[in-house]
Amino acid sequence: MVKKKGLLSVFVLMMSLVVVLSACGGKDNEGAQGNKTESQEISFMFRGAPEEQKAYEATVKKFEADNPGVKVKIITTTGDQYATKLKAAITGKSVPDVFYFDPGDLRAYVNGGVLKDITEYVKDVNFDNIWQYGVDIYRYDGDNVGQGSIYGLLKDVGPFALGFNKNMFEAAGIPLPDKDKPYTWDEFIKVNQQLTKDNDGDGKIDQYGTGFNINWALQSFVWSNGGDWLDETNTKVTIDDPKFAEALQYFADMQNVYKITPSIEDAATLDTYQRWMKGELAFFPVGPWDLATYETLPFDYDLIPYPAGSTGKSATFVGSLGIGVSNSSKSPELAAKLVTYLTASPEGQQQLVDAKVQIPNLIDMAETWAANTETKPANKKEFLDIVQDYGKPMPNTLTYNGEWYQLFFTDIQPVLDGKTTAADYVKSQQPKMQALLDKAIEQEAKSKK
């Protein structure tokens, strides 16, 4: 009897403690709601490399200075921890007021009630002066991305251009590539073979033509050859198309047949990136986020379009990252104000562009920036062309989740090693990827209900 009573009182005590604890937790929110005016404190979660974080922190400071009384609480993580932290915050229902999100997560976040429709808050933004691509991928009408309400603005756009080492061409006496006319695939191989050589005669190759990472460069070859991962409706995996297989085979052959890249064993991303930086590669992709790092390159480089496959047209992808407002934010107006400040205001953009972490979101600012051929790379206009004319989003951002797309790269190694042909690979992989895509489509349908 006595024992029972003891247990009961413990239970009561614990319950009351839980109540007290949760009341404490709720206090902040109540205070904010009690106020007639909006809370002046918002939280902002983002990620990025150290220089990028510094640039954003400085820009946020300026925002605070321009808006007296406003306090922005900054939460940063490294790039690889960001998704986990954000999703944990969503599951725990404590989403920051303003946060980065992947365009691929747009539908899930809207259907799941995580992102706020900010269309009415961004009415004053002059959308004629912002990359249409970067605005449209954050529009969603419940069925299609690209139209309807705005759920975020572009943090930036990331056109993935092709760079080349100018000095290497000059040393070898090869005419510089044309910045308006892409190489054909055959020409590209030939030029690479000329540039892959042993300079000091010790029998070891000192410089290679190129060294692409399949995750980020295969798209260019597939698209420029008329292939793609998905059909137009984004419901069918089309990698078993011969055009696709041809591009994949070409990609693998750069290594196995033409030997214009460092051997597979040496070709982990870090290595080719380092080789490029040391001036041992003739061609290497260049993203705007690299510009600050590439300032110190010991050679001169410039941008050209990617080599073109059977379509005769160059292709590459444009990445992007959105900044959105939490649906549960207590001060959505202020949150949206921070979003527009960071993404669409001349003051905010100028700060970020000066920090050399991105290309400007504002078209007029970007054109001024690109017209300056004094700074490296001279042909910065290629970046703008990619965004405006021919860049495409990554296939995995077009579907509810990207699992099917991941599977393509998970099993690709035997193709790169030359142990499986591209044609066999795409045939065996297509059904598995299709099954995962079907599941994603099913999931999406459920999330809309």
Binding site: G6, S9, T84, K87, T91, D271, T410, Q443
Partner: protein
């Protein structure tokens, strides 16, 4: 009678108060998430919105899931490191248990990786395993061996991870063995030497049985830890390795839950993993009980 019960009640009241904090912590931060995840495993929850009950569908799917099989195999395969670590740790402890110059320094050296951050160590080893500039291959080159690019080759990635994990954890097991060795009564050894036992016999009949409880403890905790290996894999092979050859179960759970919006499915896998660990540990305890009885 009455006074006694009053006193008892008062005492127990304070007693309960003292255990309240950890019990509350357990309920809030362990029990509640556990039950939540258990419920989640029966739903098609995407981690964002509604949870629809779908019964055992997740579990059925898991058994046909090729990726899960791969991850499960990898996880168990990487446990090969456990016996290696235990043997090496015992040998090290035996060596460092002697009165020799510099043993304290060696004990510190072997223990340093244990207290270092796993993330930092993973990054260091990632560099060490680099095919071009890595320390490991540079070392191998001294002997004329052309080392592979350890982490991007499906045959070398698991051994590479095992070596690193053994290196990281060996100091911990070594320290436990050292403590156990030092608590073995000296007179046993004196008796054995009087009986003319050689070093191996002494080890077999005295040392090994005396440190058996520590061996048992290490095996149990290592298997529990090994089944949950994640950080080093996530950092060193961020996509799960070539052809998914280094992905562990927890890695796959994490990918499903946070990358692919399948929190329900991930919860189901986590439940299975929890069950697996529970059963294995139970079996180990039963086996230990029996063998202790046999000894007596």
């Amino acid at each position: 009678m009455k006074t006694k019960s009053n006193l008892y009640r008062k005492e127990s009241y304070y007693g309960y108060l003292f255990v309240l904090a950890p019990v509350l912590g357990f309920l809030l931060f362990t029990m509640y998430p556990l039950l939540y995840s258990l419920y989640g495993s029966f739903t098609d929850w995407d981690g964002l919105g509604r949870m629809d009950f779908i019964g055992l569908a997740n579990f059925k799917e898991i058994f046909a899931d090729e990726q899960f099989h791969k991850a499960g195999f990898n996880t168990i395969f990487m446990m090969i490191g456990i016996p290696i670590e235990i043997i090496l740790a015992l040998l090290l402890a035996l060596g460092l248990n002697r009165k020799m110059f510099g043993t304290t320094a060696f004990r510190v050296v072997y223990y340093i990786p244990v207290i270092s951050s796993l993330a930092a160590i993973s990054i260091l080893w990632q560099w060490a395993y680099n095919g071009d500039y890595g320390l490991v291959n540079q070392f191998l080159a001294l002997f004329g061996i052309d080392g592979p690019n350890w982490l991007t080759n499906k045959y070398t990635v698991k051994p590479a991870l095992i070596i690193m994990m053994v290196w990281k954890n060996i100091g911990y097991s070594m320290l436990l063995y050292l403590a156990a060795l030092q608590s073995v009564p000296k007179d046993y050894y004196e008796a054995a030497s009087l009986d003319g036992a050689n070093a191996f016999q002494t080890f077999k009949h005295i040392t090994f049985p005396m440190v058996k409880p520590v061996t048992f403890f290490i095996i149990v905790t290592k298997i529990i830890g090994g089944a949950q290996v994640f950080t080093e894999i996530n950092i060193m092979t961020s996509t799960g390795g070539p052809e998914y050859s280094s992905a562990s179960v927890v890695f796959y759970v994490w990918q499903k839950a946070f990358g692919n919006l399948q929190m329900g499915y991930a919860s189901a896998m986590a439940m299975l993993l929890g069950l697996f660990i529970f059963v294995i540990t139970l079996v180990q305890f039963k086996m230990n009980e029996r063998s202790s009885r046999d000894l007596e």
